[in-house]
Symmetry: C2
Subunit: 417 residues, 2 copies
Amino acid sequence: MGRLVMKFGGTSVADIDRIRNVARHVEREVKAGNHVAVVVSAMAGTTNQLIEWCRQAAAVHDAREYDAVVATGEQITAGLLAIVLQDMGIPARSWAGWQIPVETDGVHGSARMTNINGDGLIKRMEQGQVAVITGFQGIAPGGRVSTLGRGGSDTSAVAVAAAISAACDIYTDVDGVYTADPRIVSKAQKLDRISYEEMLEQASLGAKVLQTRSVELAMVYKVPLQVRSSFEPPDLPSQNKPDGTGPGTIVCDEEQIVEQHVVSGIAYSRDEAKVSIRHVKDKPGISAAIFGPLAENDISVDMIVQNVSSDGAFADITFTLARKDLRKAIEVLSAVKDKVGYSELAHSADVAKVSVVGIGMRSHAGVAARMFAALADKGINIQAITTSEIKVSVLIDEAYTELAVRALHQAYGLDKT
Amino acid sequence: MGRLVMKFGGTSVADIDRIRNVARHVEREVKAGNHVAVVVSAMAGTTNQLIEWCRQAAAVHDAREYDAVVATGEQITAGLLAIVLQDMGIPARSWAGWQIPVETDGVHGSARMTNINGDGLIKRMEQGQVAVITGFQGIAPGGRVSTLGRGGSDTSAVAVAAAISAACDIYTDVDGVYTADPRIVSKAQKLDRISYEEMLEQASLGAKVLQTRSVELAMVYKVPLQVRSSFEPPDLPSQNKPDGTGPGTIVCDEEQIVEQHVVSGIAYSRDEAKVSIRHVKDKPGISAAIFGPLAENDISVDMIVQNVSSDGAFADITFTLARKDLRKAIEVLSAVKDKVGYSELAHSADVAKVSVVGIGMRSHAGVAARMFAALADKGINIQAITTSEIKVSVLIDEAYTELAVRALHQAYGLDKT
């Protein structure tokens, strides 16, 4: 019992029947004695229609007007859910971002929240009224409606939870966070708990369960976060326990995870491409000459490998980037060929990144070595390596992705018995 | 040149191409040197979809949530029009009702505007920025979004015009106010000017050119109002003249109409029904016994005729009401049969009301007599009569509606030569 924020995405509120299903999830938590706020997305398809109208109106358009148009999607869902809840006898009201207010910066179209005043919400929630809140939006300085950038409604939910000191349940199409993608690894196991840091690595490594920004925010404000399924029967008794456990996966501080695994999951991303610049004269400032123009064109580079020739005069530089940026990167680098002075520009989109993630790595040696051995055992060649304190990522031929994920899942003892 | 409010309804903004057409009308007035505010409705069909979703969510629903949902329609149009205008090089921004703010009372679903602060609008308009304003909505005490009742967006446009001391052009599917419905009377003439009072009578008598409440407001605040066509070519030079004339029909004070007609128009309404209560004992309080229960059930009564028997002991009472209220009125009156003590309750929906309207009537005798003679000449029986200072209405058999309107149009010399 306590304050609870429940977040439902676009497919969970795609029509009135599904909104009714959401309302039954809310009813269950209200009956369990929780003071509930619900954060909703636009009905699936609505946001795309609104964006398409903006695009038809003008290919390039004022982000403030785009926001005014696109923010209506969540306002519709919030009003409809409030109506359904009231019809079930549950006091409820809708809140637009500007009514709370959820204050953001002025970067329309990808705003960041700067402050949420939770007083109005708390007052009404303590009177027993469910707060139905529009996700994905707020109000910018000057009083215009703003929409959030990447992170969207998940981030709204976590931010509201932080503002009102609530726990936050994110309802999605899976019932939790797994040790690997269950579509690839049949023996993948659902985790009861995962640390914020691990979840953050997983999210940024391509696991699409939670949006990266929402996990960052939860970590900073210590919001107890749960990933759970919106397809579970809504009418069962609440499975959220006073000790903070629940039916899904809890994302929390590592101290709250009693039984630590060395590795908690295997992540992968096919959204990768590789660029190799061959026979570059190895002189000071050459890296800046290559990566400066890429950064100026908003192209983020991930892994970087540099091989210097035996005489030290030339280098081959290989790096990875998001697949969507490949074409632009080639254009940018072709334009600076003379300045950089390379002999050949090669690229490939047939690569994938596979990562092992685990907080236990900090105190266990040999995690990377076991990874390389497991991959070698299957004849998988490693093209690049990058590491952080709690993850090791390798770039491999895309065709080996599933094989690699399954081999690593087994090698770290994650297979379900 | 000066401040101008331009209002466009749902069919004028039904898709992006039509919004572009609206933008060209705006561009013309901007180029003519006007400071322009545009008031828009929701795209045709949008409001109905939103209302249908509310209905599906719950048959009976909170008017505040209904307003939160339905008000999004105009917000979408306003943003899209601002984008199109900017794309044409015309500075513009959208304003939701709550941003201006347009303050209303708390009667959600049919709110009345209580105050509009025009300072922000005026400041931006004088900087050359077109204000694109959501019609049909405002903000209620307590900060919830409200939608207006009857009058809707026309009323919003007139109220904004009053707040910023502007003229107001209402764009619609006809090019002005006619002496009669041109679909019935081929010789009907477009009026250059009509007085507020006459327009008010026409609107309340069933002419659907302007909403009654908007005309009332224009009359009170002396807003120069013009009815004009959104289908005229938008790219012609502005035809609004500094002397206040324009291409449509100007609605204004009667003093501003130089050449007064005795009768300015013939109106009709088929939205009528007739109820006759026969052989009522004629005693004090009998009218209250009949009309009290009707009023309590929100049924408005229009014409009332009472015939007393030769001995004065009994009366027949006939009255008219809106056709949609007929069934309920019969139920209400059947329930009070014993109390009222009548012998028979008869009703008919096959009736129409035909009216002649003209400010000149005040100073001309014989207007009603000419009406009765013209109808008698065509063999049309008059079932009831009601008059005001500037109109005479008669109830007739519905089958004679067109014949009556044409006969009266000719009798008052309104036929185009």
